[in-house]
């Protein structure tokens, strides 16, 4: 080690002591005890989330093929585009992301509070109810009982089951927090605590409120967007804030930026929803409020971006070795990209083109896939070996999984971003007939199917590897599945 890097490490340790006690405590025994207290609960959440990942992404793939081959499987009512598409959204959002996210949050909570999980038995009830709710809701959509509002298609009964499931998830987290053995509360924990308070409130107001006409549309999109605000994004950010410093072995760059990022996020993101209805029949002031809030999102996003990138900066060579870090950095960079894109899309001049087109779908997958899903993959790679005390057997499969999903989602997003923009221009030009504007999107829809096929192939490999690990098949390893030996690093 050079002199310079030694001073860096010393300085880092000092900062870590001040702000992030959990990083410097090398009290492995406690960690093992903590991990054991959450093992079976986290594993159940992860395993069931992978089931929904598989089902949900196959639904997505079928929907994608149907957009260019409309007669394929055209005679089956259950598989028609208008049913399989909401089934896709709901299974990946409430099944995959929510369950994998819940598993990660509860593991992180007990690590960050430095106490074994409290009231752990509640989590079995939670996982059970949640899965039942998602299964029931998805079946209802496929068999024709959707409520007909995007993100809220599940019948109210399924919604109620999930809400109760969530309460049984939130209580152990709050109880563990109350029992905490740390003074400083790490930033990941802010996001976790906020989301367990926000989510149930949001879910209840949306599922059980009574509104009419355009107010209902406003409520629909306040909810739809806020599901990202209070749940999907905090999960992703809690993971990024935890794993970037953890794997790199350096504290997060700036505490004050974290603080600014969190509170500006809480303040502005909530008001974004109506940007889904720009140009629609809602009061102008309402739409304008949401546009302003969407643009203000640049503040929290840049705060988070600078913080993450300054933490990773100079350590990019670690990406060669650590699977977790590779997924985490990909996800963290996508967060910056998708958020800045989102702020731009809220501007009227840009929204005029992109609204109602495949461009929005590209944006959605940059968010829920390149950001959230990739971060969740990284978290699962990190957490599972600590729970099962068994390493991932084949580094090769991890690498394959990364490249298939990364390349897949890049093809997906680039194709729809270009194709959607072009579609928007054509649609806004009345010299082009509507059907021509449809026909011109087809090549891009084929490309999306290609990207989607790669992503699903990646998921199959991941799930296969997960099963091997749980069954303790394959070679036993005593070190993480580094892609190359990290020893090389000190030589560089």
């Amino acid at each position: 080690m050079t002199q310079e890097s030694k001073t860096n490490v010393n300085e880092a340790t000092e900062r870590a002591k001040a702000f992030h006690q959990h990083e410097t405590m090398d009290d492995t025994e406690l960690r093992i005890k903590i991990d054991e207290s959450v093992t079976s609960q986290t594993a159940i959440f992860f395993a069931t989330s992978l089931f929904w990942l598989l089902i949900g992404s196959i639904f997505g793939l079928i929907a994608s093929y149907k957009m260019h081959w409309p007669d394929w499987l055209g005679e089956y009512a259950v598989l028609t585009f208008g049913r399989i598409r909401p089934a896709h959204l709901n299974t990946v959002a409430y099944g995959w992301i929510s369950l994998a996210g819940a598993g990660t949050l509860l593991w992180m909570t007990s690590r960050l509070t430095r106490v074994p999980l409290q009231w752990g038995w509640m989590l079995y009830i939670s996982a059970f109810l949640w899965n039942v709710g998602v299964a029931f809701g998805t079946a209802a959509i496929l068999f024709g009982y959707s409520r007909g509002m995007e993100w809220l298609e599940f019948p109210r009964i399924a919604g109620a089951i999930i809400a109760v499931g969530f309460v049984f998830f939130a209580l152990p987290i709050l109880k563990t927090f109350v029992r905490r053995k740390v003074k400083h509360i790490y930033v990941s924990l802010w996001y976790i605590l906020a989301s367990v308070v926000w989510f149930p409130l949001l879910y209840l107001t949306a599922n059980f409120g009574h509104y009419q006409g355009v107010v209902e549309a406003g409520m629909n999109w306040w909810y739809g967007h806020n599901l990202l605000t209070v749940w999907v994004t905090p999960i992703g950010l809690a993971i990024a804030y935890y794993f970037l410093p953890k794997v790199i072995g350096r504290p997060i760059y700036s505490y004050y930026l974290s603080l600014l990022g969190f509170w500006s996020f809480a303040l502005f993101y909530n008001w974004n929803g109506i940007h889904h209805l720009i140009g629609g029949p809602l009061p102008t002031w309402l739409v304008t409020v949401s546009i302003v809030a969407s643009v203000m999102m640049v503040i929290p996003v840049l705060a988070v971006a600078v913080n993450h990138h300054m933490t990773t900066f100079k350590h990019f060579n670690m990406l060669k070795y650590s699977p977790t870090l590779r997924f985490t950095v990909f996800g963290a960079m996508s967060y910056t990209a998708v958020s800045l894109q989102g702020s731009a899309m809220a501007l009227r001049s840009i929204n005029e083109v992109t609204h109602f087109t495949h461009y929005t779908v590209g944006h959605a997958h940059l968010g829920v896939y390149a950001f959230s899903t990739m971060l969740l993959f990284g978290a699962i790679y990190y957490i599972m070996p600590r729970l099962s005390k068994w390493e991932w057997p084949y580094p090769r499969l991890v690498r394959l999984h990364f490249w298939l999903t990364a390349i897949g989602v890049i093809i997906y997003v680039v194709a729809l971003t270009i194709g959607g923009w072009y579609q928007g221009l054509n649609m806004n030009n009345s010299d082009v007939s509507f059907i021509d504007s449809v026909v011109k999107t087809i090549p891009y829809l084929y490309l999306r199917s290609l990207g989607g096929t790669l992503m699903v192939a990646g998921h199959l490999i991941f799930i296969y590897h997960f099963v091997l690990m749980v069954k303790r098949a394959g070679p036993r390893r005593f070190a993480p599945p580094w892609f190359k030996k990290p020893v090389e690093e000190s030589a560089v």
Binding site: M67, D71, G82, V215, N226, N428, S430, F434
Partner: protein, 202 residues
């Protein structure tokens, strides 16, 4: 100290969410609930509501919006999709079906633009029978292929030799209701006062 900080934290977190709700849902609810049904907008009949239910069941809303944008924002006006939509157009709509995607055209005024029952029937049975390049899904389960049609049943005039010899394609009550609903989509009456939409009008 710790206690106060936690309190401030949870209070802040709650306050931000409730503020957002009040601004985007609560206040608009109070303002817009005063909107009266305009003259010219009729309540849906039972048949139309049943058709609307089929529209929701088959997920037409994931490809079709029901909101017309004003002049100067997109080409809705040039494409003759109808006058710009206002909150009063939706007073009878539950759930709302505004939609956010236009894989197909806006349907807010499809009942004005396309009045032919036979066109709609064929289009739902197989869109490519009427629009060769269409990418819309077919809905064959809304129809029945059988020997003879009942007295009140609608028989489709399917071109070519798609239908087996000696059989007819008839619309189920679901298809009839859906078409009835589509034909009811007509907001060509004068827009009522727009001050709720445009607070700077007067």
């Amino acid at each position: 100290m710790m206690f106060i900080r936690s309190f401030v934290f949870f209070f802040g977190v709650l306050a931000t969410l409730l503020l957002g709700w009040a601004a985007l849902v609560g206040i608009p609810d109070i303002m817009i609930s005063e909107v009266k049904p305009p003259e010219g907008l009729e309540r849906y009949t039972a048949e139309e509501l049943f058709g609307r239910q089929i529209y929701i069941r088959e997920g037409c809303l994931y490809c079709h919006s029901q909101q017309v944008r004003p002049e100067g924002f997109g080409a809705d006006q040039d494409r003759l999709w109808g006058r710009p939509s206002v909150p009063a157009d939706y007073v009878y709509d539950r759930p709302h079906l505004l939609g956010t995607m236009r894989t197909g055209p806006d349907l807010m005024n499809i009942g004005v633009r396309q009045t032919s029952v036979s066109w709609h029937m064929l289009h739902l049975y197989d869109p490519r029978l009427v629009v060769e390049e269409s990418t819309m899904p077919p809905y064959p389960w809304l129809f029945e292929v059988k020997r003879t049609a009942g007295p009140d049943e609608y028989i489709l005039d399917v071109p070519g030799n798609r239908v087996p010899e000696g059989k007819v394609v008839v619309a189920t009550p679901e298809a009839e209701a859906l078409v009835e609903y589509l034909l009811s989509l007509d907001r060509s009456f004068d827009a009522p006062q727009r001050e709720v939409t445009n607070d700077d009008d007067e």
